[in-house]
Symmetry: C2
Subunit: 605 residues, 2 copies
């Protein structure tokens, strides 16, 4: 079927079911950031291959909402599809529910819109329902894609799940289950309760299992229902080999098939707890009417974010592996990549970096798609070079490199921006230095317990703000431990987020400056929240927190405008470089050691 | 009646009405910060004279919840009253509704708690109702204080209201009413609507009237109901003299008695809008059941906060008057107060400062109770010296002075901390300088439009945080124009507040450090949000904002630890002192000019 045939098939089903519109969001049933291709319904229906978007199909119109990252790509891919592009980052673009209300209030006083409830979180579904009710529109749970996307639909991934040793996780399954049960006992007055868990990273963390079902995320497609006296994992039987089965048996985890979760939930009694931001509407609709329902922030999400000592030690090990790969990569870039007039493409650099990372002990895969943005491409915040469509890199100008690895020991995420050669424009030095000063200010921050990330965001921006420069992305995202490279609930962003930073949280520290068609500059380390030492000046009994920088890679000091740097900042940078050399050099050969020593040389005012 | 008799009378009425408990919050019907004594029901019932607290009376218990500012005072004043002090700032202190639920869930499955709905905002009442419903407790609107507080109850203030010229207000009533009606028209789909306004500063601003009903706030006790075709002011007839009546007639403002508001609201039709955070529950309950009710942030609150050019020019005039008073005060303090071995009390200083302020053109009254905190008293954040209970001040040590004036031109609020003599401890210099650096960082901040105050809060704290010091109060509160010294919706605090800073907002900039029994240091100016100049470096199309400092008074430079100051900070401070001298000296005599010149002398590293 081509796109027009797919739309026609969908409309036939809509007509049959009395639906005025059908909505296909770019989600999967697990609120995943990276989705298995089985669930790429929006992409299949539209022909648009971007990662974010929502399709709306009416009897006479088809529209795709997506954000400014994808305007160009969508414009090309939607050509001749009859699908209209809705530019949702534009101020005057209506929200989808607004558009639906406007569309159907006028023509039809009684109309119904279909959606697959597996693709909506409980909270989103509720918000849509309320928005649409204002115009008298009803919303119906129905899956119209399954009947028409038969041929060529990829299966749900069938990779094996494997136990993740407590030697890496730092806590046994038994201990985690006991703790979670205590938390839920405090939330539920009824002793008969069940907690529905559908986020894949929460399941992986809770049961100490990992898998290969999703790119960049070592997770297993599954659901869990935790109860006071049992724990049931819903997962396809062929993902569970004997070793895994023994492991699950040993930990008293029952296994049922992936699809059985709905019937199981439908048989629950007492109180059912779920995180409405992460659990999908289909699971919610399966809860029996006479159960008490509690929508609560996932206790697993909250606990998972606070890394234990073993997880943090693993992160430090992974960081050293990552640093070796980056040191070798930058040495190669400086000494070999352009030797004898050779050039490279952005894709070549991505492959080379992968090659070095893959040599690392316990390396599993990248933690996200590497961004290698040369010159103006660095200014495109979510730039993704492909083999067939990428820039040629010469030994001149600016290169932004944002990459990370999944190691059994932990997850890394690092950005360095380096100057490849030629005269450095003064503006480039200023930009690099504003970014670096902000990056250091956040890394050096001390703050009282209870402080939220959004309170610290301006520390990373204050110097560039003084020059009238800012950036639109977050300053810091949470990072998982051999799990998602982006996780909550903590972050460092402008948005109001009630989550306070707590000991063991990991966040990135990545301010940036982007000049269209010229360059993008971003500097990123991962940092973790630690107790700060009391000083003798302390006036209050507040507990004080600070950050430990986890990432171990030198900065390009040739780009620093020294006149903007304070002594404190220079001291911090020099101490960091001393530490980088001390921790990374033992893993390098002599030639690499000399290179690292040269990159870590102290700078002076 | 003594306290025990009052409690007994209340309990008799509770019994008669079948109530298990009665709650008396320390509020008035207008959500005022400063209350007329007529409404001090909590104080009357308890004998506790602090400004914040809530009384809960059951058949066998009486409890007063108040915060840590008042623990000492309440402990003394509640002695022999049978009233138990509940320390609500303590972590383990139950919230009132929690306590009620626990108290009555066990003993009584069906119980009702009485409250006067005039003393609860709609939102608070709703939250209480929901909290109590969890334990099956009902809440009943009933006023049991009125029948028992007859003898000696102060009347509602009867001062005259007076028109406030558009020459000061910068906008006519007609223009304000038209604008507000346009805003409400956009919110209400029904053309028949009414907006209930009960906050006294909103009424004063909207109708360009002022009065003397409340200490420190030039407002008139009244309600307003604004409709598409009329505007009704509910105010006691004897507050309206011929001039005021003519003014109100001219502006087509109907007048009805203060009490008539309930019957009037009860006769409304169509859509009724109210700000549930500010409108009291009694007004809400008067809305007919068949009206559509919209709980919306007050459009007057939002608009009032954005000062127009005339208001801002008025603020600048008031600031110069204030600066003259402060210059004269500090000159007197330095040259005369302690001459020939004289001492002063904190009260003397407050009176002297008032004397100088009262000489100012268009001065009306203080904008809040002056805080003169000598040595350790400066560390008590809400310290209030009284004539009979205050410290003796000698020409040594630290004095914190926080004060402000209401001028017809505008409202001021300034804190300076000065060293009166003797050797300055190094810690005092460090503390003063951390505070000053934070104060300057906020005043100098540039930020993109859309930035909220809570994003900037850490700028004022970062230097003291580095030393492990912080403070519990807000960094900045909104300030009215010849109205409340504390107003919303904007502020600079740690709390999440969705309000972005906008051009014309005024906030205070007042970081502080408090060392119990030693000293308190706070430095406060008022600053207003202005457009910032674009720089040639700007990368985005964001609009940039900055602050203009309004307050015009020198800092005590003898307390600065110069080694902590950056060149930028010193430049800022010197430029500020140049400006202070330039703007204030023309209003001074020669002797005062020399004194000011000496205090404004440039400092150097």
């Amino acid at each position: 079927m081509n796109i027009l045939e797919r739309l026609a098939a969908l409309r036939a089903l809509m007509k049959e079911n009395g639906l005025s519109a059908y909505v296909v969001p770019g989600n999967d049933p697990h609120a995943s950031e990276y989705m298995a291709s089985h669930w790429c319904e929006m992409q299949w229906l539209s022909g648009f291959n971007g990662e974010a978007g929502t399709m709306v199909v009416t009897m006479d119109k088809a529209l795709l909402w997506t954000d400014s990252r994808y305007y160009l790509q969508a414009g090309i891919e939607l050509k001749d599809s009859t699908i209209e592009l809705m530019r949702e980052s534009d101020v005057d673009c209506p929200r989808i529910t607004e558009w639906l209300c406007e569309q159907f209030t006028v023509h039809n006083s009684q109309c119904t819109i279909g959606v697959n409830p597996e693709m909506f979180s409980v909270n989103d579904f509720k918000a849509w329902k309320e928005d649409l009710a204002k115009a008298g529109i009803e919303i119906q749970s129905i899956d119209l894609i399954k009947p028409i996307w038969v041929e060529g639909r990829p299966a749900i991934p069938q990779d094996k799940l494997y136990p993740y040793s407590a030697d890496f996780a730092g806590e046994t399954v038994e201990s985690k289950l006991t703790r979670m049960r205590e938390i839920v006992n405090r939330k539920s007055s009824n002793r008969q309760w069940a907690l529905i868990i559908s986020a894949l990273d929460e399941i992986a963390w809770l049961l100490n299992i990992r898998g290969n079902d999703v790119e960049y995320n070592p997770v297993v497609i599954s659901y869990v229902v935790l109860e006071a006296d049992k724990c049931t994992l819903f997962v396809d039987a062929n993902k569970v080999d004997t070793v895994a089965q023994n492991y699950l048996d040993f930990n008293n985890i029952d296994v049922q098939s992936y699809e059985a979760v709905f019937a199981y939930i439908n048989g629950l009694k007492g109180t059912v707890l779920y995180d409405g931001a992460r659990v999908n509407e289909a699971l919610f609709e399966a809860i029996p009417a006479d159960c008490k329902k509690i929508n609560t922030k996932s206790p697993i999400l909250i606990d998972k974010a606070k890394k234990n000592a073993v997880e943090l030690e693993g992160e430090r090990i992974a960081m050293r592996q990552d640093a070796v790969a980056l040191t070798r990569f930058f040495k190669w870039l400086e000494e070999e990549a352009f030797a004898d007039g050779k050039t490279q493409t952005e894709w070549d650099l991505m492959e080379k970096l992968h090659e070095f990372r893959a040599m690392g002990e316990n390396f599993v895969e990248e933690s996200f798609g590497t961004i290698a943005g040369y010159q103006g491409n660095g200014a495109i915040v979510h730039y993704a070079a492909t083999k067939d469509n990428c820039a040629i890199v010469k030994p001149e100008g600016m290169l932004l490199l944002d990459s990370g690895g999944q190691y059994l020991d932990g997850t890394t995420d690092i950005t360095r921006t380096v100057w490849l050669g030629g005269r450095i424009p003064q503006q480039a030095k200023l930009d690099y230095t504003y970014v670096l000063k902000g990056h250091i200010a956040l890394a050096r921050a001390r703050f009282p317990r209870g402080t939220r990330g959004n309170q610290l965001d301006a520390l990373a921006k204050q110097y560039m703000w003084e020059a009238g420069i800012t950036y639109g992305h977050g300053t810091g995202h949470g990072v998982g431990h051999f799990l998602g490279c982006h996780e909550g609930p903590q972050n460092v962003r402008t948005d109001n987020n009630p989550t306070a930073l707590e000991i063991g949280h990991i966040v990135s520290d990545e301010p940036g400056i982007y000049r269209t068609d010229k360059w993008g500059i971003r500097t990123e380390n991962l940092i973790t929240v630690i107790p700060a030492k009391q000083t003798k000046e302390t006036t209050t009994e507040d507990e004080w927190l600070a950050f430990e920088t986890l990432t171990l890679c030198f900065y390009d000091t040739s780009l620093i405008e020294m006149s903007l740097m304070t002594e404190d900042e220079i001291d911090w940078l020099n101490a960091y470089h001393v530490r980088v050399y001390k921790e990374v050099s033992p893993l390098l050969n002599d030639e690499e050691k000399s290179y690292l020593a040269y990159k870590c040389a102290a700078i002076e005012l």
